[in-house]
Symmetry: C2
């Protein structure tokens, strides 16, 4: 019971492009419009047909739409919402795909008084970005977290949930504050750590950059994947989810200090106990289908 | 010009088992024997035919061998070497696959006076361990670092290099101290960080373990793979490469403190600059064939 008829996608990178392609694949009854601030992205989006019609302005794209999905960096959400506010249909629902929800929920509510706003976050992505990165199955078997404000229109919420389910996602509902804590640990801190260690490794004097690259199969290469993610998007995530990220980062730093002390003191028992219980988490992630069970994620150089 | 005729493999987990299978696949002229301290592993190794003959004792396995490869945890190298010393052929070469080289080089030299010892480290692995984990192509397109002591027999060094090349690896030579610094950054610190963050995430009160598992696709799941590696092996690596690991860990902690301060101070420029330059490393790793170029490592849920 997806009741939307015309969906406007603002921002045509990995997420926006994938939504457009997924609508065509899974919801042929819906027409889509798309807009991106970058003319080169609009050109490429037209060639890849990321939406039925790629528009020259955001206002043109949202005119007549009953669902508008903002797929721009977290820091741009408020200003884009202000830009489209005057031309929005009174009964349109505005949503987004941003990776932090507390500040976005506030920015969208402020920019769109009197409009229906239900923020969302599909927990899906790859290390690629831009108009060539999207694909129709990005949301298959992924979670989409919806953070409806108090008093959200029940019919529109149900329609938004049905929309994401039609794209292949499983939908969960959370308040924005809890979302931001959960994502701080499952996504933001891992990205921060990966960015940091990749930078550290490239700055060493004793070990050359070419050695780091050559011997990366020992574990380092796993970190480089997420450290190749879009810099603008991630800068904005850390600026907008600062409190939860700092809180979780300090937990991590406390634990890392414990492990550092275990190594310094040659305390093998503490290490062994810690390393044993972390195995279980991996098994659970594979068991519920949130990762590939083949060794090395099924990389093509194996088996 | 692989001049070995009989290779003994001591320890039949992921590495030892893969060597046995790779010998059969690539060096049919060589006969192999295998031994593991665990009877259940010997049983499974017999069923999988990880070596031509699985022996009931280490001494039996090494008798008559001209190459002995120790594939046991780093902490067990010295005692296993002492055990086999009395029955080693005088002209046998002893090597290993340990992930740290400084302490192993010393332990093997002390346990095997008068014998030829050339330590080695194939930089290859998966998160799986045990006798079911090995496969013949594990070393394809991977590096093997050989750390010959001063005055090592040139003919035996050449034969060991040729052996690893025949198994599909590219061989580099290094001194043990430099090896340990390089691997600290490309492998040991990434594992330590991954183990730590996975432990941190599973201990939170505000975010449940089931939420961490459900939403792991946001980045966390990449870390869980290496945090599922063998606990005994990794405890020993940290105990034996303590100095280099602590040195590199402190570099990382310094950089992480810089990133923490950038987030606290809402310094988006510092973050953006850092996140931009880390992309280049990923491109280089993919360009030289040390990782899969497909999005998400080519995980099966994508495209």
């Amino acid at each position: 019971m997806v009741s939307f008829r015309k969906v406007a996608i603002i921002g045509l990178g990995l997420l926006g492009g994938s939504i457009g392609l997924a609508i065509r694949a899974h919801l042929p009854g819906i027409t889509s419009t798309g807009y991106d601030i970058d003319p080169a992205v609009r050109q490429r989006a037209t060639e890849r047909e990321l939406a039925d019609r790629i528009c020259e302005t955001a206002e043109e794209a949202v005119t007549g739409a009953d669902l508008v999905i903002l797929c721009v960096p977290v820091g741009a959400m408020g200003s884009v919402a202000s830009l489209i506010a005057p031309v929005l249909s009174p009964d349109a629902l505005v949503s987004d795909v941003g990776s932090s929800k507390r500040t976005i929920s506030r920015a969208l509510a402020e920019a769109l008084p009197g409009h229906d706003v239900i923020p969302a976050h599909p927990v899906a992505g790859t290390e690629d970005s831009g108009p060539d990165a999207g694909f129709a199955t990005l949301f298959h078997q992924r979670w989409c977290i919806v953070t409806p404000p108090e008093g959200a229109d029940a019919g529109k919420l149900a329609a938004l949930v049905a929309f994401w389910q039609a794209l292949g996602a499983t939908v969960d509902t959370m308040d924005p504050e809890h979302h931001d804590r959960v994502l701080a640990v499952t996504s933001h801190i891992p990205h921060l750590i990966a960015y940091t260690i990749v930078g550290t490794a490239s700055d060493l004097e004793e070990v050359t950059r070419s050695e780091v690259i050559k011997y990366s199969a020992g574990g380092f290469r796993d970190f480089t994947r997420i450290a190749a993610s879009d810099p603008t998007m991630w800068r904005d995530v850390f600026l907008h989810n600062r409190d939860a990220v700092l809180e979780m980062l300090d937990r991590f730093l406390t634990d890392l200090a414990l492990m550092r002390e275990a190594i310094r003191a040659s305390d093998g028992e503490t290490m062994f106990d810690w390393f044993t219980r972390t195995r279980e988490i991996r098994r659970s992630i594979v068991a519920i289908g949130q990762d590939d069970s083949r060794p090395d994620f099924g990389r093509k150089d194996h088996r």
